[in-house]
Every structure is written in structure tokens, then in C-alpha cells.
């Protein structure tokens, strides 16, 4: 996030796209509700009529995968109606003319044909966004989990830049991060192209800096991202994997291929707190510690580093993960230092990472609300809002992008579009939440949301057990007839190991990030039997 979570309450307009915030980020949604109660405008762009859409001034219910059209049409309106911020563009950006040229053909009327969103609604959203000073964009995986995810992000960035919504409080460009420490994992260099602090592995001077720090020669070329690793594993080129704290056989797209790859591996290690689908393939299982059993830091969506503190001992012989990793490094022959505490690990990490160089455990003890990077030195107060004095690095280039359809579109054999996602009650592979009574009772198993019209056509009633099939796999789920989804679209959560949504999804990846296309793939649905105890609260109203 360029801005901070607590700035949301003071915003005057929120453009929420591809984020089911009330379910995936409930506490950020509370800030949005607070802003809404204060009178802030809310525009939600989402193929589903999610709860935020119910409370929005405007819901742009686009067809899945047509975001580039919607956002380019908004840019078209802003440019053709002269609503852009000329001074900001001149001072802080380059290549605006490329975008001006590119979006000429993306008229709202044409966009209506592709996206299904009325042209007038696109105009209204664009006008509100461009003419409100404190207007923020909030997005998450609905934007990025496409083969054109990077293009979607470029389109959003173009809107932010042409309206000068950068470096303004309660505005900005705000990806809401999914996991507790996904920001921190990237910051720490758990990525194939960067050392800690986004320092390129292909940069010779960076490489020599880390070779000196770690006392060992390092690889000079980019590694494989997760999507590529899964593909190379299936081809038999990646021969061993060490998986810590992730159930890839649930969470990766097209998991049949992942299972094939794991079976072909010569050696698989899992470091986990519970047995899961992936540990079935492990040669060695190392019992780790959960967050309550170890010290450390998490970095949240607004770049805030906060402490995690050990409250209880790990069960049995389980050990904090950081200690296990150090032991393996040493036993493998690398002289990993004998860290006595996570504080020592953090100090080394911070010393090599310019963005967090000024942060220490000592400072975190004294600032209970955490410190937000960049925080380059020990007297720096941290940075709640990025780019307050213009882009932090040079000027920001606009990116002209063309719409590309999703990799797999519906056809006669697989006529429906499946999008997958998360619910409030479970968390990812749900090994934690399904072990608690509340979430487990609220949602016992997998389901699909399907529009009444599609359901009628397919002879499906609310609560029926249905079979959902794609070119990659078939699973069962309970059908929930719901006015939230568009005709021709179904939606399914990814949480349930016994009926894995990711047996269906497409592993075609974004060309830059490798992120799989979880939000669009072609499926067919048929009723297999009526469930005897279907819940009575059917949402039978259709729109």
C-alpha cells in the first residue's frame, strides 16, 4: 500500500476493485465502512455483488477478466473530459502520450460491450475518481490473479498517475496483501529475482555485497518463480523441493500437475505444523512452530513491521522454524552463524536491507504500533505514506497496455466461467480454521455460487450436490443459488482439501509474475444428487 490503513477512514472516495474486503480483510473493511458512514463515496468493481457492492454508490459488475477494458475506458473518460492532473503528469511522470494514444479506442460504449458495465456508470466512476482529491484505489487478487494481472495493475497505476492521486493522504494505490507476512516474505528476499530489499540478483555489485556478507559465492542468474518451479517439477527438471508452511497441493493452480511433479521429485521436505495434502509426498517432515510459539516480525499490508512474541512452547519436539533452517544450513556444509535469537537474525537482515536499516527490536519495543518502511536510519520515524514529495525514485512512466483475453474462455464444452476466492470464515488451505468450531460450522465444505438462471437451465436446486469439471479436473460441491454472481459465471472458495478448487483452475501464468489465472477458467456443472439437509436460507431472489 502506498498509504496507511488508518488513512482510509478520512478518504472521500474509495475505488475497490477485485477485493472482497469484508471477507478477506475484515478490519480494513471496517475502516471502509467508517469512511462510508462519514459520507465517502464507494465504487466497487467486481464480477460478484459482494457485500461492499451492496453498500456502494456504484457497483461496476464487470465480466471476469475484462478489467483492462473497464480501466482503460475510465482513463479514456478522464482524458477526453480533461479531468487529468496536468501539473502532476508534467512534473512526475513520463510517457503520458502513449496512454492517451492507446486508450482512444477504449470508449465507454465499446467497453460496455466487452465488460457488461453500462457506459454511463463507467463515466460516473471515472469522474468521481478524477475529481475527488482524497480518492484511493484498493485492490487485491481479483486484479492480479490473471494472465494479464500485471496489465491490470499498470492500468490502475495509470489512473493514479494521471489524476495525481499519489503522495496524497487517504488516496494512493493500495494492494491489500493476502497473508500475514507476504509483504515481509518479499521484503526478506524470498523471491527468485531479488535479494532482501528488492536488490536484483543479476546486479553484479549487489551480488558481491551479499557474497561478502555471507562469505560464499552466489548464483548470478534469476531463479524460478513458484509457478515456473511447479511446471519444471512436473517436467522432471526440478528434482527436490523444500516446502515450508505452504500446502502447494491445495493452493497452486492445476494441482494435478503439481502432484505429478511431486511424485517425480527425488526428494521432498515439508516443514509444517499440521499434516496437509502436500505432506503426503514428503520424504522428511519437520515439525515447525506456529506464530504463538516463536519470536519474530510480520510485515503487514501497509509496510508496517510488528513484533510476534512467543507465548507458549511448541508441542512435543516441534521447534521454531528459524532454528530448523539454521541447523539444516550448517549440516549441509554452510557456516550459518550461530544466532542466539531472532533479534540477531533481524539485525543481519536489516543491515543488508536499506528500506529497514533503521528498524531494530529495541525500536519496535518502544513503538507498539510498529514501524513502516522505508525507515533508512535509526532516527527515521518510518513512512506511513509513500511518495509525499513526488515519486520516490525519479519519474513514474505510464504503461500503455492492450486488452488480452483470459487464457481459457468458455466454449460449448465448458460453458461457464469459474472464479475462485476466499471467504471470511476460512483461511487459505484452512488447516487452522477448520479446526475451530465457528468457522467449521459456518462453512463445512465446498460450495459454488450460481445464478438462478444458470441453475434452472441445468436443473440444479439450492443445496444440490453438483459436479464441477474443467479440462484439468473434476470436483464436487454444494450449489448455492445466489444473486451475487452474474449469469454465465460461478464462484467457489479454495479452502477445502477434499474438494480442491485448484484441481480445476488454470496454471497459465502472468508473463511477469507467474501468478496463475485463478479468477478465470472454463467449467461445466451438473447436478449429481439432491442433498438431504440443504440449508433453508436459500437466496432465491434473482436480479
Amino acid at each position: 500500500m502506498t498509504n496507511s490503513i488508518d488513512e482510509i477512514r478520512d478518504t472521500d472516495m474509495m475505488f475497490v476493485i477485485g477485493s472482497n474486503t469484508t471477507e478477506a480483510h475484515p478490519i480494513i473493511a471496517m475502516e471502509m465502512k467508517r469512511a462510508r458512514q462519514r459520507g465517502a463515496k464507494l465504487v466497487v468493481a467486481d464480477p460478484r455483488k459482494i457485500w461492499l457492492a451492496e453498500m456502494a454508490d456504484l457497483h461496476l459488475q464487470l465480466k471476469p477478466g475484462t478489467d483492462v477494458w473497464l480501466l482503460s475506458a475510465m482513463a479514456n473518460v478522464i482524458i477526453s473530459e480533461n479531468l487529468y492532473d496536468q501539473a502532476f503528469i508534467e512534473k512526475h511522470t513520463t510517457d503520458f502520450d502513449h496512454v492517451v494514444e492507446k486508450v482512444k479506442s477504449y470508449t465507454p460504449e465499446e467497453a460496455e460491450k466487452i465488460t457488461g458495465v453500462p457506459a454511463e456508470d463507467i463515466r460516473t466512476a471515472a469522474r468521481w475518481y478524477a475529481t475527488t482529491k482524497h480518492a484511493g484505489i484498493y485492490y487485491t487478487l481479483g486484479i492480479t490473479e490473471h494472465t494479464h494481472g500485471t496489465d491490470n495493475v499498470y492500468c490502475l497505476a495509470n489512473l493514479v498517475l494521471m489524476t495525481g492521486h499519489l503522495g496524497v493522504k487517504s488516496a494512493g494505490m493500495n494492494p491489500l496483501r493476502g497473508q500475514n507476512n507476504v509483504q515481509g516474505a518479499n521484503d526478506a528476499g524470498a523471491t527468485p529475482v531479488y535479494y532482501p530489499g528488492y536488490q536484483k540478483v543479476t546486479d553484479v555489485s549487489v551480488k558481491s555485497k551479499f557474497e561478502t556478507a555471507w562469505g560464499v559465492g552466489l548464483s548470478a542468474h534469476d531463479g524460478l518463480n513458484l509457478n515456473e518451479m511447479m511446471k519444471e517439477m512436473a517436467k522432471g527438471n526440478l528434482k527436490a523441493v523444500y516446502v515450508m508452511g505452504e500446502d502447494i497441493v491445495i493452493s497452486e493452480p492445476n494441482v494435478t500437475k503439481v502432484e505429478t511433479g511431486l511424485n517425480r521429485c527425488e526428494f521432498v521436505v515439508c516443514q509444517e505444523i499440521f499434516h496437509n495434502e502436500t505432506t503426503r509426498f514428503a520424504d522428511v517432515i519437520l515439525p515447525g512452530a506456529c506464530f504463538a510459539e516463536k519470536d519474530g516480525v510480520f510485515t503487514n499490508s501497509d509496510r508496517r513491521i510488528q513484533r510476534v512474541r512467543k507465548a507458549v512452547d511448541p508441542p512435543g519436539k516441534a521447534r521454531p522454524d528459524w532454528r530448523i533452517l539454521c541447523d539444516i544450513a550448517r549440516t549441509s556444509g554452510y557456516a550459518m552463524p550461530n544466532y542466539l535469537s531472532t533479534e540477531e537474525v533481524f539485525a543481519e537482515f536489516a543491515s543488508l536491507t536499506p528500506q529497514i536499516k533503521g528498524i531494530s527490536y529495541q525500536r519496535l519495543e518502544a513503538t507498539p504500533a510498529g514501524l513502516q518502511w522505508p525507515c533508512p536510519d535509526e532516527n527515521h520515524p518510518g513512512t506511513p505514506t509513500l511518495h509525499l514529495d513526488g515519486p520516490m525514485v525519479g519519474t513514474a512512466p505510464f504503461q500503455a497496455v492492450d486488452y488480452r483475453p483470459s487464457a481459457e474462455l468458455p466454449d460449448n464444452d465448458y460453458p461457464l466461467v469459474l472464479s475462485t476466492g476466499r471467504t471470511l470464515y476460512h483461511y487459505n488451505s484452512a488447516t487452522q480454521t477448520r479446526r475451530d468450531a465457528g468457522p467449521a460450522t459456518k462453512q463445512r465444505g465446498n460450495f459454488i455460487e450460481i445464478n438462478l438462471r444458470d441453475a434452472k437451465r441445468l436443473g440444479i436446486q439450492h443445496g444440490n450436490r453438483v459436479e464441477v469439471a474443467s479440462r484439468r479436473g473434476t470436483i464436487c460441491a454444494e450449489a448455492w443459488i445466489s444473486p451475487r454472481v452474474r449469469v454465465g459465471c460461478i464462484w467457489m472458495p479454495m479452502h477445502f482439501a477434499e474438494n480442491r478448487a485448484n484441481l480445476l483452475t488454470n496454471d497459465a501464468g502472468d508473463s511477469v509474475t507467474g501468478t496463475g489465472e485463478y479468477k478465470v477458467c472454463a467449467v461445466k456443472v451438473r447436478a449429481v444428487e439432491a442433498l438431504p439437509n440443504a440449508p433453508a436460507n436459500a437466496l432465491l431472489e434473482t436480479r
Binding site: 520424504d283 515439525p287 510480520f298 541447523d327
Partner: protein
Amino acid sequence: MNQSFQITLDGQTVTAHTGETVFDVAKREGVSIPSLCHDSRLEPAGACRVCLVEVAGQRRLQPGCAWVVTPDMQIETQTDRIQRHRTVLYNLYMADHEIDDAGLPVETGNENQLRKLCQSVPSMGLTPIQAPRSGRPLDDNPYIKFEPDLCILCARCTRYCDEVEAVNAITLANRGSETTIATAGQRSLMETTCELCGGCIDTCPTGALIEKKAPSNLVQLGEIESFRSTCNFCGVGCQLNLHVQNDRVVKVTSPPPGDTLNDGNLCIKGRFAYDFIHHQDRITEPLIRDKNGQLQPATWEQAIAATANGLNAVREKHGPDALGFISSSRCTGEENYLMQKLARAAFGTNNIHQCAAT
């Protein structure tokens, strides 16, 4: 227009700003005014009447939480009249409240702020009211219990449910002495719009809303150990206090509103989904798969050696880029740092990633 001006608070001249309440000014000046129904996250309700103050020129006492100050206003917070009012008020509350052997309002797992207030006034020995107020004894939700005899109807819970969580699952219902906190048709919370965030428990000042799975005597245990940490679910980064008894996490709460980014709020996962920590299914010892494909318990030395040897063997046979390291965005920053250092420094590959893209 935000203007500054002077008012008189307990005889002292102090600065105030347009739109501020007596509470806002008093808090800044370090003047303590008791209250039960006030929560900084909610609109002032003036419901509990505990915070009444004297305002010069006003015939009646006025609620400090809701009374907006104006220039030259004179406010007294600790007069005999206020003290007389509080004595009667607290005794009335006690007459309509479950009382323990000490003659004070009962305290459950949560602190009962009314109990503390009642200790400050003499008992008037009023006859108990025995209000016919109904709870929801059959509510089978796993987390939240409502005890009507401990409720003072300040409506913090229903206002929180409306103003902050915005689900409106609970509401004030009925009239007079039958007034209670209810759901539509007294249904179980599981059959309402309730999302089980537990904010009602958190905001309740008297402990009438009780966390079902936490020990019922947490307050009486006194200084139970608590550890400040960060939630391990989504990317918001809510701050938590993990309450520990006998080396088990028995309750999770948020630090008070105001100090942290979650402002006292938590969701169902952060507040309640902690059973996994001590679940019997946790993996408690290292395991190595034997020749027959069965997982067998091993010592740490064996498991670490097996891991190092397995990875080294593949590296020697196929080169470092035949190895893949999948770190975890669920683990700490230090662990992610060490995992990428393990991949790069110990095994010579940049094949290191995590679930950022899933």
C-alpha cells in the same frame, strides 16, 4: 471551522476546540470522568448516565460523553450533586444486576467496570428489581454467550454491531424492564447476519457478553500472563494479546482502541480461531519416510541429516538449480530471510519463492 477557545473545567481555564465534547477536553487535561456506555469507536449515546457533569446555566446534569463544549462554558465534574447522583445511579444498577456474596455486581470472565464503580459508593440496600429480561439460552453459537442479568442496557454491543461491524445482528428489543439484547426472533447468532467477530464481547463494560470457550474465571485469576503479538491470518496485521494459562493460549483479545491499527477490532479468525495452536493433530516429532513408504518417527539429528543429505545428493547429481525452495508468507520475516539465505548461500540457487502469487 476548527476554532480554539477557552472553557473552565473544574475551575481551571483550559483550551478546547470546535466540536469537542466534555470527554475529549477532560481526557486531554487528565481529568477522569467515569463512564460505562462510551466507546471511542462509537457515536456518543449518553445512555448510562454515569458521566453526568454540571454545566453552568443548565438546570440538569449533562452527559460528558455527548455534551459539545462552546466558548466560556463552565463545567464541574466532581461536585456533591454529581456524587449524590452517582450513589443513587449505581445503587439502581445494582438493584437490577446479579450481585455476588460481597454485595457487588458479579464479575465474569471479562472485567465488570460497574463493580469497580459500585465499590466507590455506599449501598442503599434497594430491593432487587428481578427484571423479566430474557437471554438466548438456546443460542448454540460456539463463542458468544449473553447473560441478561449482568446487562445494563448501555447498548454498546448493539451500537458496535451497527456502527463498526455494520451487520446489525443484535438489537435492543422489548420495552421497560423487559428490554433486552436480542436477535431477530431470538434466533441463534449462527442464523443471523452475525459474523462472530466478538466485538460485542470486547466492548461490553459489564461482562454480560461472555466468551464461551475462555475460562470463566479469568478476571478472578488476577494477573494472568498475556503476550502482545500480531495476528497470523490475513495481511492487515491486527495486534493481539494472547492470554496464557498453564502454557496454553486460552483467550485472545485486542489491545484497547486507539493505540493500534486495528483500533480494538478483530474478526472471527483473529479473536476466536486459536484452537489450532493446541490441537491434537499438530505434528509433534520429526518424521522420515521409510523404504516401504511409511512415515516413521525420527530424532532431530536424523531428520536434519536426512534433509541435508537429500538436498546435497540432488545438488551433486543435478546441480543447484534442480533444487526448489518454497518459503512461507505465513512465517516470520526472519524465517523468510533464513530460507532465502539457505537456498542461496548454502545451496547456490535463486530458486526461492513463496505463496505471494497464490
